[in-house]
């Protein structure tokens, strides 16, 4: 019997070694792999009802990473566009490290899940990737150059990072959270609205975001050197302080920067932010920049007398970071103590912004605060009765207190 097992072992080992050395296992070698860092999707300019797909491929270099943008100007579906990247460049695109899905502004006019569905279906695209809408075309946005010389994707990802979320300037979301909202009863969601501000001057020829790749740029246009396009040698700065609201996958409204900040302070994981408030001091309006630390926040839905009440309870500590008036020595020394008038002004400002958001939600149908979900979870019996009119009939109740440090 030992001889039998010896033969079995030898045959198995031989087969394994043959497989190993032949290396013909349908493997995709890393050297032939295009590591896609970001995907940009726009409506095709060449044909109606088709899509333009831009893949930003990270090109490893001995000194720094470069990026190569490969655009497929017209594809039936996003999946077809990505497969086209393989055909045209000879590289096999892998999306496992895709960190960003950027949708052009025109895509948001229709149901964005016509294009996002590909990423949800694919097992090889992480649903933790960031999703954003950009001003103009995604192809141009991905062609922008970063002032710190890194990949455009990295620069945008920094703007949309969880650190940025914590300071309340940006509403960050990933594919999973956006899809959850879309498929929920509320059919609502939000995406950061990315804009490009051609402000910063870079020190030299920028390597990030626009370096031309080595080979494989036939077919669709590979936009390279976008440091040259548009900004005349200057790098671009990205701003995501606005937020686009969605209902049933379509663009419903846009929140301004102040509204975005208010939403973040009330609802998301933001617990520390800077904001501006105008208060009267000695009869003159003065703008104060406040540092705000949220210590407590909650939102609840209740039904009182048949009326849905959405109550916000927020407790925060504030400190004056700056003011547009010359402060006396005393006032500057007591910077931790915020005058009551300023605190009250901050509370009013907060309430106004939240009210504005609620109005936009009611007008657009976007259930940004998840009221329908809260109704379904906490009042399942009343859900059917209130579902359709909830956003328009809900009244807001605010219990917002700003305190000063003593």
């Amino acid at each position: 019997m030992n001889k039998f097992w010896s033969w079995v072992f030898l045959i198995a080992a031989g087969a394994l070694v043959l497989l190993f050395f032949s290396n013909d296992f349908g493997l995709i070698d890393i050297q032939k792999t295009a590591i896609v860092a970001a995907i940009g999707i726009d409506r095709s300019e060449e044909a109606e009802g088709r899509w333009s797909v831009t893949a930003q491929i990270a090109v490893p270099d001995a000194n720094a990473n470069k990026a190569s943008n490969v655009s497929i100007p017209s594809a039936e579906t996003v999946g077809a566009g990505i497969a086209e990247v393989n055909r045209k460049t000879g590289w096999y695109p892998t999306l496992v490290h895709c960190r960003l899905i950027l949708l052009g502004e025109d895509v948001a006019e229709g149901d964005v899940f016509r294009v996002l569905g590909y990423f949800l279906r694919s097992e090889f695209v992480e649903d933790s990737c960031l999703v954003a809408v950009c001003e103009g075309r995604a192809q141009e946005m991905l062609g922008a150059s970063s002032p710190v010389g890194e990949l455009t994707t990295m620069a945008i990802a920094k703007v949309l990072s969880s650190e940025a979320q914590k300071t309340g300037l940006v509403c960050v979301t990933n594919l999973r959270d956006f899809a959850k909202g879309y498929y929920s009863a509320a059919k609502s969601g939000y995406l950061p609205f990315l804009a490009r501000l051609p402000e910063a001057e870079s020190g030299g020829p920028s390597e990030g975001g626009g370096g031309s790749a080595d080979g494989g740029q036939t077919g669709g246009s590979a936009s390279g050197g976008s440091g040259q396009s548009g900004s005349g040698g200057n790098a671009d700065v990205f701003d995501a302080s606005k937020t686009m609201l969605f209902y049933e996958g379509k663009r419903a409204a846009v929140l301004e920067a102040a509204e975005t900040l208010a939403f973040n302070l009330a609802e998301t994981s933001t617990d520390f932010a800077f904001g501006e408030v105008v208060a009267e001091e000695n009869g003159e309006p003065v703008t104060f920049s406040l540092k705000m630390k949220i210590s407590q926040k909650s939102r609840a839905l209740a039904l009182e007398g048949g009326v849905p009440i959405c109550s916000f309870r927020i407790r925060a500590n504030a400190q004056i970071a700056d003011a547009d008036t010359a402060a006396g020595l005393d006032e500057a020394a007591k910077k931790t103590i915020v005058p009551g008038s300023v605190l009250r002004a901050a509370e009013r400002e907060f309430e106004e912004q939240l009210t504005a958001i609620l109005k936009k939600c009611a007008d657009s149908g976007c259930d940004l605060f998840g009221l329908k979900q809260a109704l379904y979870r906490n009042f399942p019996r009343e859900y059917d009765a209130y579902e359709k009119t909830l956003l328009s009939s809900a009244r807001a109740a605010y219990d917002i207190r700003f305190s000063t440090l003593h």
Binding site: R99, A179, K180, N378
Partner: protein
Amino acid sequence: MDKLKLRQICFLFAAVLPVAKLIIYPSTLSYYAKNDLLLSAGLNFLAEGIVIALVMWLSSRTDRTLFDLLRYTFGEVAAKTLYVLLALFLLFSAALPVLEQKIFVMQVLYENVPSLLSFTPFFAVCCFACVKGLKTIGRIADISLPVFALAFTALILLALPHADFGALQPAGAAGVRGIFTGSLFGLPWFTECLFPLLFLGHFRYEKGGMWKVLAAFAAGAGAVLLYLAVFYGIFEELSILSQYPLAHIAKYSTIYTTLGRADFLFIFSIALVCIFYLCIPVQLSVHCFRKAFPHLAPVFPAAGANLLLLVLAIVFNYSFNAVQTFMMRYAFPVFLLFCYVLPLLSLLLRKKPKAGRGTPEQNAKAARKKTARRRAARIARLLRRQERREHE
């Protein structure tokens, strides 16, 4: 070669058997039971727990194996026949987990879907495990417990910050029909209650053994229920799309850190425990075959069983959905019969051999006892007759 410890059975229930429910079961269950998946799974666990408790109670009453009990009650031939049926059922019940594992491995551990050749070595490993006997099941449980505990805890801790447990509300929203459908169609994943029956006679019952095993089972069940809660809390409406949550629930904490997908270390650890889990029903099947045909060398039933599973894997390579639907919707009575009814019926088996139904040694001993009893009775009768005569 076939001896286990009670501690190892406890570890099996706590750490090895729960892994079967971490792969495709959550998304399948959420399809039927929606946010009431905890209730649905809880029903299954309750039923399993009752069966396990009763089987452990049986083990406290006898140290014979199931084969012996069947032989005492129905005879050798019937016992062998039942064991062959059990063996076939165990292979049948292993088919779905094997296909599940295959797809999980292909999708999660590779980025370009490889050919079936990447999975086939599993059957060689399983064959090797089957040759080694029941002892390896117990020892693998000793190794698996710390691996599973560490990996599972790490994954849950990484996943918890992203879970919204409010998604489980409101309780009962899926309705009684949804909950019971989820429980009924989930039966292919709840076959472990059969295992203690096959371990009967292969371990020494200790004082409080039933409670220890139940506690371990409860720990395993608790882990699965926690996992289901976290899963639904993370994915909510997307639950039915999230087919391999094991590979995804922890990534939201790690993916953008410097170390990247460090959670893969824990996923691989649990995948290793999955391999051990998959081998268990096949090992038990081979054990049953060998009980039925004791003169067969272990390598033959081991090779045969694994070859059969390999053939099934090849034939159904592209038909997982069909197999799953068949197992859930049409084959659930088979699971009910073997995993729930059979252990309950085993409580009624004779624990001592009837005349002629034990082993030859037992039969000879029983015959000698019977002869001695008869002789003693005859002598007693003769003595009484003599006394009566003397009295007269």
